[in-house]
Amino acid sequence: MKLDRRTFLSIGAGAAAGGAVGSLFTPLPWKLTDDLSIWSQNWPWTPDPARGEVTFAPTTCELCPGGCGVSVRKVKDRCVKIEGADGNPVNDGGICPLGSSGLQILYGPTRIKTPLKRAGKRGEGKWKPVTWDEALGEVAAKLSDLRQKKLAHTAAVYVNGGEGTVNNLFLRLATVYGTPNVFVSRTAWDTYADALLHMQGEYAKPAFDLENSDYILSFGCGIIEGWGSPVRMIRVNAQVAEAGSGKTVVQIEPRLSNTAAKAGKWVAIKPGTEAALALGLCHVIIREGLFNDEFVSTFSQNFEDWVDEVHTEHRGFKRAVLEDFPPSAVEKITGVPRAQVAKLAREFAAAKAPVALFGTGKGEEAGTLYGAMAVHALNALMGRINQAGGVFMLPPDADFNWPAPAMDALAQRSLRENRIDGAGTDRFPLASELPSRLGEVLADPKKPYPLHALLVYAADPAFTLPETEKVLAGLSQIDFVVYCGSQMNDTAAMADLVLPDHTCYEKWQDVPTPPGFARRHIGLTRPVVKPLFSTMQAGETAIRIAKAMGGPVAESFPWSDYIQCLEESMGARLADMKENGFWEAEPDKGPWYTAFKTRTRKFDFAPRIISPAFPDTKILLPTYEALTPAGSESGFPLTLIPYENLRLAAQNVGDTPFLVKTLPDSSLMNQESVVEINPATGKAFGLREGGAAILSTPAGETRVRVHFYPGVAKNTVALPKGLGHIGYDDYLAGKGTNVNALVGLLPDPVTGHNAALIARARIVPA
Amino acid sequence: MFPFNYEWAWDMSHIVFMGGLWYALGIIGAGVTYVVAKSAWDTMKGHGGHEEGHH
């Protein structure tokens, strides 16, 4: 037949259509469809975790001082989950959000995997991996060199705490090396310990028997926000919610925190005036004769007025508070209605086992000495010392009976040099060290001498010290900054040399008693997995540095390695620690006549300091001294306070990706911190919910988002504490603002330690 | 969709729903088959061709 184009076209089309239809009768399209869906169910880029035998390995969490026992679930040799260890007296199976996201640290990008040497500009994040021998050699060389030049005192050591073997190895290194410039992160616990030193003649840590207390009076402590040992404190708090428990918590705080919300009563107070309220309560208790007469009359001194050996009249604690702190005066200072002051005092006095707690927020700020003494005086008035449900003394966990350090002449001489921060000098006679002044000192052109080296272990001064800008500027002036720790935190990011530590899932180490815990409790970290990277136990690092320096320094470190040091330091306790994961001992619960180590063996309401620093005797009579942040009321009409909670890790360990994910959009929005402001104030300043704003203080300025929150007082802004990191990874770095960058130093007039994170502020819509 | 799918159950909902479905599909299928077959038959009978317009 004639095949013209038309017919051809139609046949072609027909064939095409027919083919299309026809193929439906072959398995091809159906098989293809099925295969495609199966592929979509097994996308190679969606991980398929390997199976294996499941085991559980115990260790102790080291991400905060809480000292929780944890149990790590493993699949073959992978850690897959961290859970609270059942039966552990600290956390009994419970765990906090940071602790349960620990594997994101173990396996995460913030881990430091090998010794690193700075390759770019300081803080630029450019590193060159080096071997351990090179790294340790360089540290030893640099330090020895300074020492030879008689500049030992210009090398400083910064650790996160004064307890535990590893901290003390670094402190020992500082001593035998011969530098007076040791810095230990300063917390409210240390301030309370100072109060105990003065009032009871013994430097001891407070142990609060909260489990057995029925009335917990918290002066701003974030009881469920990380004060003390978080899980333990949350459990204590949960007792209150137990139906029919006679227990109550009274929270004294400027802001409606989680603790305030959960407390039986929230007493709203002006920021930084807690001491005044404490003394106001003392006033009422004394005036109404509600105090423990036996304790006060028999076991205390300087309660009544007294006369010293040169016949000078001195006001006793009683007259002082009766004269200076009547509820009316207290109301003026604190904003707490006088009636409520009286009511609180009576409740506190009437309770079976009341106890007063000190330390605002997580207790990460030192606070004032008088503040701590006022709170402790309140406990003392009711005779709550060494009583069930009260406060006990614990010696620091540093009893290792190490041989006395071998001190050569060089060390002895340089140790006599003044500290760079002026602690212990006539200016700050009551302070042994003032880390909070580091930024100010280093920035000061008239500083006594420059620092040539800084060795930091586990702490993160670059993030946690006030006046961040000055601190960072100061750090960059130091020729040689060495960071020893497991994570690339802000300080590590600023270092010249980084000596990576194991994580608490990879090493043997002792974990000191959690702050405020009712008993001595030394935990043990154990290797759950073999160290994943080329890291070294920090204690081992300290020992190796010392040995590399040779001479008397090396002699003071007689141990072959850290493990031996740990074994000898723990002694008999190690057996328990290995068996249960911890060692425990009851605190001294001795009667009052044996309890106090003062000269008179009595509790001292108004201790006097006899020291060359004070030509005329100095008497520490607890009182309230107003803290006045920098800035004019007109220029900065608002008060800036930080807020803290368990989703915001703000110490030497930052938030994990999981933790950042749990942050509500009332804390963080995109990359910006969110400030809480009272709706009335917010509207008055032309702000709107969720809107951007510029928050400025005398110390600095930052862009924030606004959240209207009726839980903060008018003319107050609250900023989340723990954001604004420069170190770590993309999941944390650069998110939000560091509170410390906005607040200036606010020194305790008595000690010089940073009293509080409070600043004057201004906020305008952006 | 088919009795051999594991979701299938011999309950009212399946019988009604799937019944309706297969019924509709049946009609459409049968209809199309009939039309195509008849057209083929007509063509062979020499119907159609080039006349314009429709019946």
Binding site: S40, Q41, W43, W45, T46, P47, D48, P49, A50, R51, R78, V80, K81, E83, G84, G94, I95, C96, P97, S100, S101, L103, Q104, L106, Y107, G108, P109, I224, V231, I234, R235, N237, A238, A241, E242, A243, G244, L256, N258, A268, N645, L646, R647, P657, F658, L659, K661, T662, L663, S666, L668, M669, A680, P710, G711, V712, A713, D730, Y731 | E7
Partner: protein
């Protein structure tokens, strides 16, 4: 899906959450993410796209300083059994591909990720926003895949996921029981990750059908001074998560029907 078999000694797992104890610490959220291989992104502040099987909501009494008060409310999947407890939960009844199903043996609402094709009808139907969509391919930073658990398969982009009451833990417990020739589980043998982690012991988990279990007891008679409620009870979703609170404002801030009654009461007086 049909409740053909009788409900005799069938398990009905559920939760009781004591809001008085909950501190809003977020441990449940993180423990859940860690247990269930929940992915995370560099910016998680868009809470409308942030996968949190367990989400802690914040309730406020809406009063001004210093009378303001807040309360946290953890919200897992409610594992609704629907009207009359027949398993017709809002989500199960709408899923076109049986990718989510109600187990009458455990009362748990399952989610089959490889079956789900991402139509998101279930998300629209769930009034609790307990269901989350994988808008992105899940990605873990270098090295972090190491901690992923083989008990819970990772979800691919484009499917819906939600709290499973840690069903894999139930399976493990049952396997163990089976090897010991047991058919019944002890109360503590099967606990969800959030329950286990909660530092305040605010979450109690167990079989609501077993009066031995604490959940059943708490539901049948709440502790003195505490009231119990479920979210959106009035919608006949029949959720299996109960809440306890001693604060009246929390009751009305969390629960509309109560609020309605309160209104009526007020107008009555």
């Amino acid at each position: 899906m049909e409740a053909a078999e009788s409900h005799e000694k069938q398990k009905m797992y559920g939760m009781v959450i004591d809001l008085d104890k909950c501190t809003g610490c977020g441990a449940c959220m993180v423990a859940c993410m860690a247990e269930n291989n929940v992915p995370f992104r560099k910016d998680e502040t868009d809470k409308f796209k942030s996968i949190t099987w367990m989400r802690v909501y914040l309730l406020s009494n809406k009063k001004d300083y210093p009378y303001s008060d807040i309360c946290y409310l953890p919200r897992p999947c409610m594992h609704c059994s629907g009207r009359g407890g027949h398993g017709h939960s809002p989500c199960v009844s709408v899923c076109p591909a049986v990718a989510t199903d109600y187990s009458h043996a455990t009362g748990i609402v399952s989610q089959i990720y490889t079956r789900c094709f991402g139509c998101r009808y279930c998300m629209g139907a769930c009034p609790y926003h307990a269901r989350y969509f994988n808008w992105w391919d899940p990605k873990w930073p270098e090295g972090m895949k190491e901690y992923l658990s083989p008990d819970v398969s990772c979800r691919m982009r484009g499917v819906v996921e939600k709290c499973s009451f840690c069903f894999h833990r139930y399976q493990r417990a049952m396997d163990l029981a089976f090897t010991e020739q047991r058919t019944e589980l002890e109360e503590n043998e099967y606990q969800t990750s959030c329950t286990q982690a909660c530092p305040a012991n605010a979450i109690v988990f167990g079989d609501l059908n077993n009066e031995e279990h604490q959940v059943a007891q708490l539901v049948s008679e709440p502790p003195e001074g505490k009231k119990k409620f479920r979210l959106l009870e009035q919608l006949d979703t029949n959720p299996k998560v109960y809440y306890l609170t001693s604060k009246d404002w929390v009751l009305s801030a969390a629960n509309r029907s109560v609020k309605e009654e309160a209104k009526k009461a007020e107008s009555g007086h």
